[in-house]
Amino acid sequence: MDLATLLPFIVNVVVGGLVLGFVYAIIALGYTMVYGVLQLINFAHSEVFVTGAVVGFEVFRVLAPNPMNGYLKLLIALVAAMVVSGLLNVLIERLAYRPLRNAPRLVPLITAIGVSLILQDVLRVIEGFQGRFDLTYTLPEGFSGKFCSAESSCVALGNALRTVGIDLQLKDVILIVVGLVSLAVLNYLVGRTRLGKAIRAVAQDRVTAGLMGIDANRMISATFLIGGALGGISGVLFGIKFGTVNAYSGFDPGIIAFTAAVLGGIGSIPGAVLGGLVLGVIQNLIGVTNIFGGLLGIANLEAIDASYQRIGAFIVLVLILIFKPTGLLGKSNVEKV
């Protein structure tokens, strides 16, 4: 195999990893937002995310016979998932975390795991009543086609991308666009609005913010609402990307997104995105390592196949924690006395 065939392959793997990374990044944002404000790792976030995926599935299923525009269906699915997941996250905070706000840190962590297990089975029961377990997304026509296919007007762009090895599907592009838009909106919300300012104030010092007239509880609820809505978006994107989801699908991407948040520096919004993208690319590259082993005749590399994808991501995490414990973009907390 020569370079001319290998290069597009590598490009394709990296681009695929970036697309995957976007899904992780948006899930990771949900972890990082909550951590930033409460210093709480919301382990129920993976189920909030699956709830979004289930809502998306239901919307697509109900709207499938409807001849409406595919993008409109997508928008409805996204909004519905944002609302349901956002409210669910607020509810979880109100019922499971707020009563424990002043308890030792381990307590809300355990509650979070409990909530996560409860939600899994609730989702299972809800879908199980209708005789479903593996939910298969019925996407609008064309969503699973190639980006810039022969019928569309942007063939030249599609061909140009294909020559360098980037073979995107339309849904990959949708995923990237939705991801970028939500990131931009989030950035604006947190950085430029009064709400964002208040959230940041509560994150910095809850008591002092309260003295300045900020209702900390309301800001925390708002944080959970935003985090949950992001979970909802990522759930729908996950469903679109992989096609199926079930009540227990949240665990794997949840744990990787959490890793991404830590890798980027937990609490940092750009860090979460960077962490997600890095992990996506690393995973995909490790998944294809054995190809190079075969080409270069190195038996040890040949043994590293797709089953090592996850391990690779966690090795990177361990290295980061050893050499830069605050994560890639995290700032160390210097307490001034």
Binding site: M1, T5, F9, N12, V13, G16, G17, L20, D134, T136, T138, S144, K146, D167, Q169, F238, K241, F242, G243, T244, V245, S249, D252, P253, Q283, N284, L285, I286, G287, V288, N290, I291, G294, D305, A306, S307, Q309
Partner: protein, 384 residues
């Protein structure tokens, strides 16, 4: 005085009874009749019942009243074993048709072994079922270790593939199957690109990128339908149309649902033949429908065949015994050594451990979400 009279009259009735009525001879079925798998278990019972109805006249000529007793194992090893003990205690039961689950067959046949109650299974595939070499355990379906070579055969002969990409799900089932396929393919000189394990349930992008680069003629996936279904969906979306082959782990209607539009050019090997795959089964299917008001399925036909093996074995043993009711040991030997013809699934004879000497594996094809029989492959156990 009174007591003696009473016991005398009881003795007299008993003696009269046995003189006038025929001797009762029973066979039993052991299969799940309640719970999630009762649908399949009931098929086995009903199939056996049809065979018993058919053989009743022949037994009557020998002065025997043939009956079937159905036992429910609930697809549970403990329940199955308890039922097996009950069967062993009923001396009029000469042999058993069952079970559906290998996990139930293994302890139940163990429980039946000391009393030499022969068992003929219409469904068990685990190697261990016969590998223990019990004298009473037989089966008329192919073994699990026949699936790998059969899949490899199909890939080389029917798909004419020269280059195969093998995947497995890293479980004992999937990894074992994939290893068998790899071995058989290599023996036939087919290029095996890799035998790759993955526990991934949703993201197959890096594997698909590799498949795209290597362009295999066929892909073998040793795994279960829910994982393989997602893989196939993503594979087809990436524009790869190569056939995907698997074992009976893919034998589920869910596979086509999960794979969605990608549910085409998929093949899997299985022991449970669809009724239309058995050439002689048409009259059987009509009889079944008439008697039980229910559609006959593969396990119904295999239950029927297993019962015929059992009944024919009892008749053979009776003949050797001077047309008298044979003992359980005699039946056990007659079944193991017998040569049974005219069954729905062909002729049956067993090797020394009770595996069918020439069994059949069926290759099903999924195309546009529809399941149909692609071909059937004759398989032989390693021991003859």
């Amino acid at each position: 005085m009174k007591k003696t009279a009473l016991s005398l009259s009881i003795l007299a009735t008993l003696a009269l009874g046995s003189a006038s009525a025929q001797t009762v001879v029973k066979i039993a079925t052991l299969s799940p009749l309640s719970g999630g798998q009762s649908d399949l278990g009931t098929q086995i019972r009903n199939g056996a019942q049809l065979a018993v109805n058919e053989y009743k006249p022949q037994f009557k000529k020998l002065g025997m009243d043939l009956q079937l007793v159905a036992y429910d194992d609930q697809a549970d090893p403990a329940t199955g074993t308890a039922q097996a003990r009950k069967i062993a205690a009923d001396r009029s039961i000469l042999a058993v048709v069952g079970t559906l689950n290998s996990g139930v067959a293994i302890p139940s046949s163990q429980a039946l072994a000391p009393s030499h109650v022969a068992m003929v299974s219409p469904a068990n595939t685990a190697n261990q079922v016969t590998d223990r070499g019990l004298s009473n355990m037989n089966r008329i379906v192919a073994r699990d270790d026949a699936q790998g070579p059969a899949g490899a055969n199909f890939i080389t002969q029917n798909l004419k593939a020269k280059k195969v990409y093998i995947l497995n799900d890293k479980t004992a089932y999937g990894e074992g199957l994939a290893k068998e396929v790899e071995k058989a393919l290599k023996a036939k000189g087919v290029q095996v690109i890799t035998n790759e394990g993955t526990e991934e349930k949703s993201d197959f992008s890096s594997i698909i990128a590799k498949i795209k680069l290597q362009r295999p003629d066929a892909i073998y996936f040793g795994g279960i339908y829910n994982q393989v279904g997602v893989f196939i969906k993503q594979l087809r979306e990436a524009g790869i149309t190569a056939p995907v082959v698997g074992g009976d782990g893919l034998d589920s209607a869910e596979l086509a649902t999960i794979a969605g539009k990608g549910a085409n050019n998929i093949y899997f090997t299985t022991v449970a033949a669809p009724i239309e795959a058995l050439p002689a089964a048409r009259t059987f299917a009509t009889n079944f429908q008439k008697t039980f008001k229910d559609q006959a399925q593969g396990f119904g036909a295999f239950g029927y065949d297993a019962a015929k093996v059992v009944l024919q074995g009892i008749l053979n043993a009776a003949k050797a015994n001077g047309n008298k009711v044979p003992s359980r040991e005699q039946v056990e030997q007659a079944i193991r050594k017998g040569n049974f013809t005219g069954l729905l699934s062909g002729n049956v004879s067993f090797n020394s451990v009770g595996d069918r000497k020439a069994a059949t594996l069926y290759v099903m094809n999924v195309d546009n979400g529809k399941y149909k029989l692609a071909t059937s492959i004759p398989v032989k156990p390693a021991r003859q």
